[in-house]
């Protein structure tokens, strides 16, 4: 052990004079932090699996397993008319194979019990007097009761049942009229997703959700980990600045986020034939802004939480759940109660999903999505500003 080589009394060289030198050492500090952070990721590859495995797993899970396209939607048939005509109509409706008779009931009242038992999602009622209406050439009124709890499949069911009834009654030479409960709303998806394939609708939502998980959860842990280990003290006694820490820490996670995003899009296009009808540049820009916003949000959580447990819980509450439930990914925003609709305005996933669906499925460009981009950019800016400010204040 040589004692003489440690000490050196020359004045510290860490105070550069010129602006460009200051910028250089700023870059070096950011790089040093980024490198350290990626070492953490390598040593604890859980984060890596999360970032790269999660997108593929979720896509396949949602895409195949939990596909909302049930080939045979179970429907309970209530044939109040019980005539050859009504039987012909019901045969025709179920002939396509899209709908399946899950059972029969005597009256529509029995439907409530069926919903409660979860035997079917819908009840098709062929009312008394149906055969006479057909004979008189009058519009036929068929009633479809849909279980509103299953909001997502309900919308699909409506569409399919509507199409099946219309086709069946046309083949019988009748003019159909549908009385729906709840009333049908025209969904854009029906327009731009003619095959009614829910993957097309799902992939953009998933892209947002996956990115939210990866970006927020990973970054939420980075600063809180330093609090937990009390290494933050050691960091803050160096000339490093808070924004440099924020930048350096985000670099590796930004890279991971971009890779995760690419995985989602490539898998979406490849496995589920999600089209790319719009401008890829708009898509890239939206992804970038959304990713930055999510990283910023994760960083803010991490700074405020000060320990990893709280950080994870906060990330779930303020980012992951809203990205899934309030973004229009699972449930249409228009169907939400008003307070939730209001909250959804500050859920960035909402704007991102809107842009993605527009660009991928409808071929939208800047003209249609500029507002979404603005909101995404604004969110990212606000997150970073608050994060850097809070960081400074939390220490003293």
């Amino acid at each position: 052990m040589s004692e003489a080589s440690l000490p050196r009394t020359e004045p510290s060289a860490a105070l550069p004079r010129t602006k460009s030198r200051r910028r250089t050492s700023s870059l070096r500090r950011i790089f040093a932090i980024a490198r350290k952070e990626s070492l953490h990721v390598q040593r604890d590859p859980q984060a890596l699996y999360l970032a790269l495995g999660m997108p593929i797993m979720l896509l396949l899970l949602f895409g195949y397993g939990v596909s909302f396209d049930m080939d045979e939607l179970p429907v309970v048939l209530v044939d109040e008319d019980a005539t050859p005509e009504s039987r012909a109509l019901s045969d025709a409706v179920f002939a396509s194979g899209e709908l399946r008779i899950a059972g029969t009931a005597r009256s529509a009242d029995a439907a409530h019990q069926i919903f409660a038992d979860r035997d079917a999602n819908a009840v098709l009622v062929l009312p008394r007097g149906l055969s006479e209406s057909i004979a008189r050439g009058e519009p036929v009124e068929v009633q479809l009761l849909v279980d509103g709890v299953e909001a997502n499949s309900a919308a699909q069911l409506q569409g399919k049942a509507e199409a099946a009834v219309r086709a069946a009654s046309l083949s019988l030479g009748a003019t159909p009229a549908m009385a729906m409960s709840p009333p049908t709303e025209t969904r854009l998806s029906t327009w731009f997703n003619p095959e009614e394939r829910s993957q097309l609708f799902l992939v953009p939502g998933l892209a947002a959700y996956i990115l939210a998980i990866v970006a927020v959860l990973l970054t939420a842990l980075t600063v809180s980990r330093e609090w937990d280990r009390s290494s933050i003290q050691q960091l803050f006694v160096t000339p490093v600045r808070t924004w440099e820490i924020v930048m350096g820490k985000l670099l590796p996670y930004f890279t991971l986020g971009v890779i995760a995003e690419l995985i989602v899009f490539v898998t979406g296009a490849w496995v589920f034939d999600v089209p790319m009808r719009g401008d890829p540049i708009v898509l890239g820009l939206a992804s970038l802004l959304f990713l930055l916003g999510m990283l910023g949000q994760g960083m803010l959580i991490s700074i405020v939480a000060k320990n990893q447990m709280v950080a994870t819980q906060m990330a779930t509450m303020v980012s992951m759940l809203p990205s899934m439930l309030l973004s229009g990914f699972m449930f249409p925003i228009e169907n939400m109660p008003l307070p939730l609709q209001v909250i959804s305005n500050v859920v960035p996933a909402r704007y991102f999903i809107h842009t993605l669906r527009g660009v991928l499925l409808r071929g939208n460009g800047f003209a249609e999505v500029w507002f979404d981009l603005l909101m995404l950019g604004g969110f990212a800016f606000v997150m970073f500003t608050i994060a850097t400010r809070r960081f400074k204040r939390e220490l003293a």
Binding site: M1, E3, L6, P239, A396
Partner: protein, 317 residues
């Protein structure tokens, strides 16, 4: 001699609680300055203020010529800091930890590599460069932390209980390093509550409940706070006879210490032989060995803590 650290009336409160009260001192360049105090005395709080981590609530301090309140960034660039709680990254190797701190201080490329090698050499951990920090025993972790604190060759280094919980052999090794950096001109500000370590310091400040109650060289402190001569007696029945020993003429204090007793007396009033003879004359006492010993800092510390209230009154006058 130039002053590395100048502290004037420094104080810090947390809400109503005063952690550090009106502390003033200065530290010479290249000096080993020890800061001694019980748990919660305010040692870490003082260091954190001097390192620019914590803003003082009152008073001023200049570290390496920079005002800690006005130019904390310049202070940070001129100091090394080793926090009380180990705070390097356990999942990184020894080398990676050093490289990280090098990068933070703007080192790069070959200059960085060279400095990493130098540091590894100086803390004697060259063979352990690729070892995971988590696998290091406490003593080596502390040495690595010292290496990181000194990586950018700061003129001043703050070490907050650098040897807490480390085995005695490693502590001695560690202090060898500290003496080495000091003799090469680096100012060392170190806190400890090991009294034996305090002996290594050129000067010591004693903190009691946020107040600096004494500050001087170890020898001067002993002379001031524990005056007199001390004899260490070993034998039989000594501990039971302590009250009687305290009553002997000229005896200031008598305490049991290890397997013997320490008797402190005023040499102007009595002498070694007289004391030993008087003790031997006590009933049921046998004295097997007699040895003159130095006062230790433990005694100084206890005396200073007792006198704190009195000093506060004198200080106010």
């Amino acid at each position: 001699m130039t002053k590395s650290i100048v502290v004037e009336g420094l104080g810090r409160r947390f809400g109503d609680f005063v952690a550090v009260r009106d502390v003033s001192f200065h530290v010479q360049k290249g000096e080993i300055f020890g800061y001694l105090g019980a748990n919660g005395a305010g040692k870490s709080t003082t260091i954190r203020m001097l390192s620019g981590l914590l803003a003082p609530s009152s008073g001023h301090a200049r570290v390496a010529g920079h005002d800690i309140s006005k130019a904390p960034d310049k202070v940070k660039a001129s100091i090394g800091y080793m926090s009380q709680k180990f705070s390097l990254y356990l999942d990184l190797t020894v080398r990676e930890n050093l490289e990280f701190f090098g990068g933070i201080y703007g080192r790069w490329g070959r200059a960085l590599d060279r400095r990493v090698e130098e540091t590894l050499e100086s803390i004697g951990m060259r063979e352990l460069a690729s070892t995971s920090t988590a696998a290091l025993p406490g003593g080596l972790r502390q040495r690595l932390a010292l290496g990181s604190a000194l990586f950018h060759q700061p003129p001043i280094v703050f070490l907050d209980e650098p040897t807490a919980g480390v085995d005695p052999a490693s502590r001695r090794e560690f202090w060898k390093l500290i003496r080495g950096i000091s003799s090469a001109g680096t100012t060392v500000f170190v806190t400890t509550h090991y009294m034996d370590e305090a002996e290594y310091c050129a000067r010591i400040g004693l903190m009691v409940a946020g107040t600096l109650v004494a500050l001087d060289t170890p020898a001067a402190l002993k002379k001031q706070w524990v005056p007199g001569r001390i004899l260490r007696l070993e034998g039989q029945g000594l501990v039971r006879a302590l009250p009687a020993v305290r009553g002997l003429g000229g005896v200031v204090e008598a305490q049991s210490f290890g397997n013997g007793v320490h008797v402190r007396f005023d040499p102007a009033r009595t002498g070694d032989e007289a004391i030993v003879a008087s003790v031997r004359a006590l009933p049921a006492v046998a004295v097997h060995s007699v040895e003159a010993v130095e006062a230790n800092l433990e005694d100084v510390f206890l005396a200073a803590a007792d006198a704190k209230a009195e000093k506060a009154i004198r200080g106010a006058a």
